[in-house]
C-alpha cells in the first residue's frame, strides 16, 4: 500500500519538524542561561529542559499533524482505506474473541459479552466468531458466579458452542500468561484473535471489519482500534471521555502519519494474526534487575515490537469506530491502575536495547517509558529552576518561554475544539459550539490542576518500580457508585498537600519573584483532596451532563450496544444476595447445595486421570470437615482444592442432601434455610411453578 520512500519522507519530515521545534526551544533556553552564565546546575537544567521539551514537542507535532490530516479529509495512507467500507468477504475465517478477566464485576462482563454476541449475530457473520471468557479470578465467589453467568448467557442467547469459559487453575504470568495459555490450547484453531478487556465493548460490524481488513492485508500482524472511553458517570470519567473524544483523534491521526506500519498496540480492542503471534510474541523473561522483576507486566508494546521484528505490520485503525472501553471512576482508582502500568512501562526500558527491534518500535517503547519517567524529570527541573530566578527579578525571556510552552501545550486543545466545531455532526453531538468551547476550557483547567498531582504520584511510582517492590496485579476498579470518601481522599493526597504548602511557603520566603510561576504547579497538590473528592462525584457528573458539558456522541446518540450494556445481566435463577457470616463462602455454599450449580461446576472441571488413594482419602476428610465444621473452618487453599475436584463436589452435594440437618454445622443449616426460602420465594413468585395442587406434606 505504500512504498519505502514514501514512508521515509513522512518520517523524515516528522523528525525534522520535531527537531526544529526542539532546537527553537533550546536556543531560547541557551539565551536565557547565558544571561546569567553557565554553571553545573544550569547545564543540568538545560539537559532536563531538552528531554522534557522533546516530549512536549512530540505531543504538539502529533496534534498539529493530526489536525492537518483531518482537515484534509483524513490520511490517505491508513489501513481502513485498503478495503471499501461496504466490502466484506463472503466467508470470514475462524476468529476467537477473548476476554481475559480477573475478579471483575460478573454482571458487567457477561452483559458485555451478550451485547457483543448479539451485535455480531445481527451482522450475519456470527458463525465465524467464538467468544472465550478466560478467567483468572482468585475470589471463589466471583469464579463460581462467572460459571453460573456463563451457563445462563449461553442458554439465553443459544450460545453453546460459540461462547466458552475457561478458568485457569494456575494463574501464571497474569494477562499475558492467560492469553498465551489460550494460544497453546486453541490458538491453531483460529486465524485471528481479537483481544478485549473486561470493560471493552465492540460492535459486531467492527469485529467483521477487523477480520476483513486482516484478510485483505496478509502482512498485517496486529490492527489496533482506537477505543474510546464511554459510559462515564462521575465528573472525572466524563471529562476524561470528552478529552478522548475531542483530542484523541488528532493525536492518533498524527501518530499514524509517522508510525504507519509500525504502530502501537494497547493490548486490547485489537485483532492479532495468531500464527505469527504464537511464533514470535511469547514473552521472554527479563534479566534480573533489582525490584523491576523478571516477568513483564505490560506485554502489549513488547508484543507489537516483537511481531514487527518478525516482519509483520502493526497498524492503528483509528477511524474505524465501534470500539469502546470504560475509564476508572475516580482519581484514586486511576492512580491504582497507573501504578501497575508504570511498573510495566519501566520494565520496557530493557527493550530499548533489545536486539533486532525496528527504530519506530524503540520510539514507541520510549514514548511509553517517558509517559511516567518524565514526571521525576519535571520534578528535578522544578528543583533546578531557581537558577533562572537568581537576582530576584523575572527576566523577559522567562515570560516569552512560558508563552511558548503554553502555546505548545494548549494549541492541540484549540485545534481539537476547532475541528469539532467545524464538523456539523460532531458539533451537534457534543452539544454545540458554545458548549464545546466551555467544555474545552473546563477540561484545560482540570488538566492544569491534575498534571502536577500526577507528576508527584508518577514520581513515586517510578521510584517504587525500581526500589520499592512489585506493583502487584490487583482487581481494577471500573465502577464506583459511592466514590472515595473524604477520608480516603485525605489519606491518598495529604502528604502531597503538605509538601506543596511547605514548598510555596519556602519559595515565598526565599524567592518571592518565583512564586507566581510556581503556584501554577503547586495549586494542584494544594487542592488535591477536595479536587479528587469532587471529581469522583456522580452527582456532579450527572449535573454536567444535564447542562450539556463534556458531551460525547455516545451520550447524545448512544448506539444500541451501549444502551443495552447499561441493563444488568439477567439471570433466571438469581440467588439471594448473602450478607453476614455466609457472604464470604456464599458461592461455595450455593455450589454444594444447588443441583443445577453443582452440575454446572462439576461439568466445567477437567477429568482427573487417577487420584492416588492417599489424596482421595485426604479429599474425603476435607469434605467431612467442610460439612461438620462449616466453610469458615477451612483455609482458602483447602476450599480451592475441593472446588477443583469434581468427585469431592459431587460427594459434598450428595452427602449434604442425604444427611439430617443435625449432622451439619450451623453454617450449613443457615445456608440451607436461606436456600430453601429462596426456592419457596421463586415458587410463590410463580416463576416456575404451575399452579395446581397445593403441596402436601403428610405421609
Amino acid at each position: 500500500m505504500n512504498s519505502s520512500d514514501f514512508i521515509s519522507d513522512r518520517r523524515w519530515s516528522f523528525v525534522i519538524l520535531n527537531a526544529f521545534l526542539l532546537v527553537c526551544g533550546a536556543v531560547l533556553m541557551v539565551a536565557r542561561i547565558s544571561a546569567h552564565g553557565w554553571t553545573i546546575a544550569a547545564a543540568g537544567l538545560f539537559v532536563l529542559f531538552l528531554i522534557l521539551q522533546a516530549q512536549i514537542v512530540y505531543g504538539f507535532t502529533l496534534a498539529v499533524t493530526g489536525w492537518w490530516l483531518l482537515r484534509r479529509g483524513g490520511d490517505p495512507v491508513r489501513i481502513n482505506q485498503t478495503l471499501p467500507l461496504n466490502a466484506t468477504p463472503r466467508l470470514l475465517p475462524a476468529t476467537a474473541i477473548i476476554v481475559p478477566i480477573f475478579n471483575e464485576d460478573v454482571s458487567r462482563v457477561f452483559q458485555g459479552v451478550r451485547v457483543m454476541y448479539e451485535s455480531l449475530k445481527a451482522t450475519g457473520h456470527g458463525e465465524a466468531f467464538d467468544f472465550f471468557i478466560l478467567s483468572d479470578s482468585a475470589d471463589l465467589n466471583v469464579w463460581l458466579a462467572e460459571e453460573k453467568a456463563w451457563f445462563e448467557l449461553c442458554k439465553q442467547v443459544q450460545g453453546f458452542g460459540h461462547i466458552f469459559y475457561r478458568k485457569r487453575r494456575v494463574t501464571l504470568h497474569h494477562k499475558s500468561g492467560n492469553v498465551a495459555d489460550f494460544c497453546r490450547r486453541w490458538g491453531t484453531k483460529y486465524r485471528y484473535l481479537i483481544v478485549l478487556d473486561a470493560d471493552s465493548i465492540m460492535t459486531g460490524s467492527t469485529f467483521v471489519r477487523l477480520a476483513s481488513l486482516m484478510e485483505k492485508n496478509p502482512q498485517a500482524g496486529i490492527i489496533q482500534t482506537y477505543s474510546r472511553a464511554v459510559l462515564g458517570q462521575s465528573l472525572f470519567q466524563r471529562i476524561n471521555q470528552f478529552a478522548a473524544y475531542a483530542y484523541g483523534p488528532l493525536f492518533v491521526a498524527g501518530a499514524n502519519f509517522w508510525q504507519l506500519d509500525n504502530a502501537s498496540f494497547y493490548g486490547h480492542n485489537a485483532i492479532i494474526r495468531v500464527e505469527p503471534f504464537m511464533r514470535f510474541c511469547a514473552m521472554p523473561e527479563l534479566p534480573p534487575s533489582g525490584k523491576l522483576g523478571t516477568r513483564i507486566l505490560s506485554h502489549d508494546t513488547v508484543e507489537a515490537a516483537l511481531i514487527r521484528r518478525a516482519g509483520y505490520e502493526v497498524w492503528s485503525d483509528y477511524d474505524l469506530g465501534g470500539s469502546y472501553e470504560e475509564a476508572p471512576p475516580h482519581l484514586p482508582a486511576s492512580l491504582q491502575r497507573d501504578r501497575r502500568w508504570c511498573h510495566g512501562n519501566m520494565q520496557h526500558i530493557w527493550f530499548l536495547f533489545s536486539r533486532g527491534l525496528t527504530m519506530p518500535s524503540r520510539v514507541n517503547i520510549l514514548v511509553g517509558v517517558m509517559a511516567y519517567a518524565s514526571s521525576p524529570l519535571w520534578l528535578l527541573f522544578l528543583l533546578f529552576s531557581p537558577v533562572l530566578f537568581i537576582g530576584g527579578r523575572v527576566p523577559v525571556q522567562n515570560t516569552f518561554m512560558f508563552v511558548c510552552a503554553m502555546f505548545l501545550l494548549l494549541m492541540p486543545k484549540v485545534l481539537a475544539a476547532q475541528q469539532l466545531i467545524s464538523s456539523p455532526g460532531c458539533r451537534t453531538a457534543a452539544g454545540g459550539r458554545v458548549k464545546i468551547i466551555l467544555s474545552t476550557i473546563g477540561e484545560t483547567i482540570y488538566s492544569v490542576i491534575l498534571a502536577p498531582i500526577l507528576m508527584l504520584f508518577y514520581t513515586q511510582f517510578v521510584w517504587s518500580s525500581y526500589f520499592g517492590g512489585s506493583a502487584g496485579w490487583g482487581r481494577q476498579k471500573r465502577t464506583d457508585d459511592e466514590g472515595p470518601s473524604w477520608r480516603e481522599c485525605t489519606v491518598v493526597h495529604l502528604a502531597h498537600t503538605i509538601l506543596a504548602v511547605a514548598a510555596a511557603a519556602l519559595v515565598a520566603w526565599l524567592l518571592p519573584a518565583m512564586l507566581p510561576w510556581l503556584l501554577l504547579v503547586l495549586i494542584g497538590p494544594i487542592v488535591s483532596i477536595p479536587f479528587s473528592r469532587l471529581m469522583a462525584s456522580n452527582r456532579l457528573g450527572l449535573l454536567s451532563q444535564r447542562k450539556g458539558w463534556f458531551l460525547i456522541p455516545e451520550e447524545t446518540q448512544p448506539p444500541w450496544e451501549l444502551q443495552k450494556l447499561e441493563n444488568p445481566f439477567e439471570s433466571s435463577t438469581d440467588a439471594p444476595t448473602q450478607t453476614g457470616d455466609e457472604a464470604e463462602d456464599f458461592g461455595l455454599g450455593q455450589t454444594v447445595l444447588d443441583p443445577r450449580l453443582n452440575s454446572i461446576h462439576v461439568s466445567l472441571l477437567h477429568e482427573r486421570q487417577q487420584v492416588p488413594v492417599r489424596t482421595r482419602e485426604h479429599l474425603v476428610a476435607l469434605c467431612d470437615q467442610l460439612l461438620r465444621n462449616g466453610p469458615p473452618a477451612l483455609s482458602l487453599r483447602d476450599k480451592r482444592i475441593l472446588l477443583w475436584d469434581a468427585d469431592s463436589m459431587l460427594l459434598l452435594h450428595r452427602k449434604l442432601w442425604s444427611s439430617p440437618a443435625g449432622c451439619w454445622h450451623e453454617w450449613w443449616q443457615r445456608a440451607f434455610r436461606t436456600y430453601a426460602q429462596s426456592l419457596a420465594e421463586r415458587e410463590n413468585a410463580g416463576l416456575h411453578i404451575e399452579r395446581g395442587h397445593s403441596p402436601t406434606g403428610a405421609v
Binding site: D130, F353, S599, A646, A698
Partner: protein, 185 residues
C-alpha cells in the same frame, strides 16, 4: 403421595424425608406439581421398602439415595454414552429448559421422542476440543552495541535518505533557527 404408608420408622422421620425430598425436586426446577408428587411418592415407596429391610438406616438418607439412583438410571437410559451421566444429563436438561418445554417428561417412564432427541443432541461444552501447540518465549537479547545512530535512523526512515523536498524543508528550518537564535542573543 398419601398412598405411601411406611411400615417401619417414625412419622417424624418420614416427614423429614418427605420435606427434604420435596426441597430437592423443587431445586431441580420441576415445574409440574403432579409430576413432583409422583416422583416423591415413587421415591418414598422405594425408600420405605428398603427401610423395612434395614430399619437402622435413616429414612432421609434412604430417600435421597433413592432419588440420586433414580436420576442416574433415568439419564443412563436416555443418554447412555455419557460419563458422569447425572451431571451431564442435568446440565443438558437445564440447558434445553426441559422442565418448561416438556413438563412431565423428566423422570417419566415414557418420554416424548423429540425431548429425548433434543436432550441427546445437547452438548454443553465450556471449551472446544483442544488443539495443543507450543508458544516458546523468545530469548531476550540485549545489545547496546547494536544500536548506533546511523543504523537506527536508517531503520526509522526505512534505510533511505530524505528526498529533495524534505532536504529543502530541513535547510530552511535550520536557517530560521540560526537566525532567530542570533536575534535573541
Amino acid at each position: 403421595m398419601n398412598s405411601v404408608y411406611p411400615t417401619t420408622g417414625f412419622e417424624s422421620e418420614w416427614k423429614a424425608a418427605h420435606d427434604r425430598l420435596e426441597a430437592y425436586v423443587m431445586a431441580l426446577c420441576l415445574t409440574n406439581q403432579e409430576q413432583r408428587e409422583r416422583i416423591i411418592s415413587t421415591v418414598l415407596r422405594q425408600a420405605a421398602l428398603k427401610h423395612a429391610q434395614n430399619p437402622g438406616e435413616s429414612p432421609m438418607v434412604l430417600a435421597m439415595n433413592e432419588i440420586h439412583e433414580l436420576l442416574d438410571q433415568w439419564f443412563a437410559k436416555i443418554i447412555p454414552s455419557r460419563e458422569r451421566v447425572s451431571v451431564t444429563g442435568l446440565i443438558s436438561l437445564f440447558a434445553i429448559d426441559a422442565t418448561k418445554r416438556w413438563p412431565g417428561a423428566f423422570l417419566a417412564d415414557e418420554v416424548p421422542a423429540d425431548f429425548q432427541r433434543t436432550l441427546r443432541a445437547c452438548e454443553v461444552n465450556a471449551a472446544p476440543g483442544l488443539s495443543v501447540s507450543r508458544m516458546v518465549p523468545q530469548p531476550f537479547e540485549t545489545a547496546l552495541s547494536d544500536i548506533n545512530l546511523p543504523t537506527a535512523l536508517g531503520q526509522l526512515t526505512k534505510d533511505l535518505p530524505p528526498s529533495l523536498v524534505t532536504k529543502v524543508i530541513a535547510f530552511v528550518l535550520s536557517g530560521f533557527t540560526i537566525w532567530s537564535g542570533n536575534r535573541l542573543r
